[in-house]
Amino acid sequence: MAQVVRSPKVYDVCIIGSGAAGGTAAKVLTEGGLNVVMLEAGPPLNPEKDFKEHMWPYQLPHRGVGVGGEHRHELNDEFIAPNGAWEIEGEPYTAAAGSQFRWFRSRIVGGRTNHWGRIALRFAPVDFRSRSTDGMGDDWPITYEEVSPYYDKVESYIGVFGSKENIPSAPDGIFLPPPPPRCTETIIKKACDKLNIPCVPSRLAILTRPLNGRAACHYCAQCGRGCLTASNFSSSQVMIPPAQATGRFTLITGAMAREIVVGKDGKAEAVAYIDKAMRSEKRVHARAFMVAASACESARLLLNSRSTLFPDGLANSSGAVGRYLTDSVGSSAGGYFPQLEKMPPHNHDGVGGMHLYMPWWKYDRKNDFLRGYHIEFGGGRDMPGVGDFDRLCEEHEGYGASLKQHCRSRYGTYIGFSGRGEMIPNEHSYCDIDPDTVDQWGIPVLRFHWQWSENEINMAKDMQETFRSIVEAAGGTFISKAKPEGRHPYGIEDGGVIIHELGTARMGSNPKTSVLNKYCQAHDVNNVFVTDAAAFVTNPDKNPTLTIMALSWRASEYLLDQARKGSL
């Protein structure tokens, strides 16, 4: 008797990951008419329940720092929108001997865009031509002119404020008006003017005017908590809803992708994933796959997708998967500014991020290092939080009325500076599969290898010197813990800490040295695309998210075009 075999549902496209890359692809592909299924390793996001916008510290018994104060001095506290963590229970990663690397991962619809600083900077033309410019690294297979229309599309849709400045290292975009500077920013801008350092309106994906059905910002400075009015950008609130509205979108949450399964014809045909709630393995079938799980998670998935056809991992005939891993060069310092003690109480909140920043300015001179960095800064009369007064307590010591008054007079007088610079890929920085460790789902985990080069250390040194000159020019007292020697020379952060890790499945025109072509399509398997920052060739001093969205939008349009031509 013939057995009835029910053929599985085959979607047009399966997207793995719901963050900046996955969300953008979901919107573009579904609006283009394709049936899309998305796998997200975490739970759904429920802003009404999950967001703590406008709550005061004293409305939570732990004042925001969680059980036992576990979030004291941590990146995330109880107020922050659910978005991820440095450590996820049951899902470890490892670092090779001598390497320091931290990996911030997200397990929630919207991914890391739920807490992203919303800094939305275009790469400059020179950023796509690094090797041609200074002989290091590689050129991208695409130019600024090819990406620019997609920056336009992304900015027009998500909303980015900024100002036209004509600075070669920081191309202008399609901008909403910027908010006026805060006091702290006014002081620093004056100092920068003296030093001939440009200090201009920042470019953040926050609405200063209503746009595409979303309300304008109400200036509570709490973007990191998640925004109930979706006045800031997140994939969960801005990209996923239009995909859902098409009726052609299926979102599967709690689904941890384990392997992309390849058919006999060498094309990908399904994703094997763990249904976390059931602790069982399932498969979802599609004609094309968009890997958008975050750079390192995407590399991990490819490396774990081994088969007889692809013994070293899917799309990895070049051996480049996991290689060319970079993060931004980060170093920080700050200053105390006595003039701020005289400021009367006033609303200093503004948007959830800086209103001004310093784009890279020394691009036309010879420096002690290649490439550049930009400077982010902030401080002032923010909502007080647990841990904010440690430094004042330490410098004042004692107790009683004078301590209390000291804290009040110094409140809001500190401004912090952070440099964000370009790291050049090196052979010592990469990730591979740890041969000895699996996570709780049985999936082999990543092992990180990391080394800063002299170029990055010199850049961190330059950052510290610049911070000092700005603070002193503004009449402040420079405060920095950075030292020239030690594990963190000139305050350079460990790899991964700036959360701009990328490059692990880079694009290129040569299939021997790159994983993807210029449309983020795998050289080896033409129905697999990687559209997160794994595809990046370089890691310029611009936060990657805007470019992730531009490239994912571009790859999605290319895929749509291929689908229309019947070549999927």
């Binding site: 104060g69 003039q339 005289k342 301590l403």
Partner: protein, 199 residues
């Protein structure tokens, strides 16, 4: 019950449907946002009623903790002190959940009482105000531990308690008011900076 209170869910649902009519985005119209935010805040707000029962410290230790907190951030003409701000409750709650804090603070309080017994023949709470001031003046400054290493544990303890007390005070309603933080509100436009005095 005759009156049925409207839940936050109902409000948000209504608002969201309004927004949905013109947009595929699940967002709330700006004019209604403030009301919704207050509903959310009110529902999420922790309710603290009645007398706090310490979860970690013994009644005697808790009294000592309260006294120390109040010495660190006292009442003045502008505001209440750490005790009125709920700092002891905050510290006790976190300590009850954190073994490291239990060592630092629980152990620290025992150290203090032992020191007072050695020096004055009684526990800290039973000491005279002058004696209390004398011992606090010793453990409130790092330099004293350099001169007398026997004080270093006390200095460590007090430095940590000072930070935790500042946390508890400056994140309280009265502490935030004392500092003059005036944000966490809804503005149609951001006004920028009132003029900044020269350095």
């Amino acid at each position: 019950m005759a009156t049925k209170s409207i839940s936050r869910r109902d409000i948000l649902k209504t608002l969201t449907m309004g927004a949905m009519a013109g947009s595929v985005l699940r967002v709330i119209p700006a004019q209604a946002a403030e009301y919704a935010h207050h509903m959310v805040a009110a529902e999420k707000a922790a309710t603290t009623t009645g007398v706090y029962t310490p979860k970690f410290f013994s009644p005697q230790q808790y009294k000592t903790l309260q006294t120390l907190c109040q010495a660190i951030i006292p009442v003045d003409t502008d505001s209440g002190g750490a005790k009125e701000a709920g700092a002891p409750e905050f510290i006790d709650l976190l300590t009850s959940e954190n073994p490291k804090y239990q060592l630092k603070l629980g152990g620290g309080l025992m150290w203090l009482d032992a020191q007072c017994t050695d020096r004055y023949g009684k526990a800290y709470l039973d000491c005279s105000p002058a004696q209390q001031k004398e011992i606090l003046d010793l453990i409130a400054y790092c330099k004293n531990a350099e001169k007398d290493p026997g004080l270093s544990q006390g200095v460590e303890f007090f430095a940590f308690l000072r930070e935790m007390t500042a946390d508890g005070f400056f994140t309280s309603e009265i502490g935030i008011k004392y500092l003059g933080y005036v944000g966490n509100t809804y503005l149609l436009t951001f006004p920028g900076c009132p003029s900044v005095p020269e350095a």
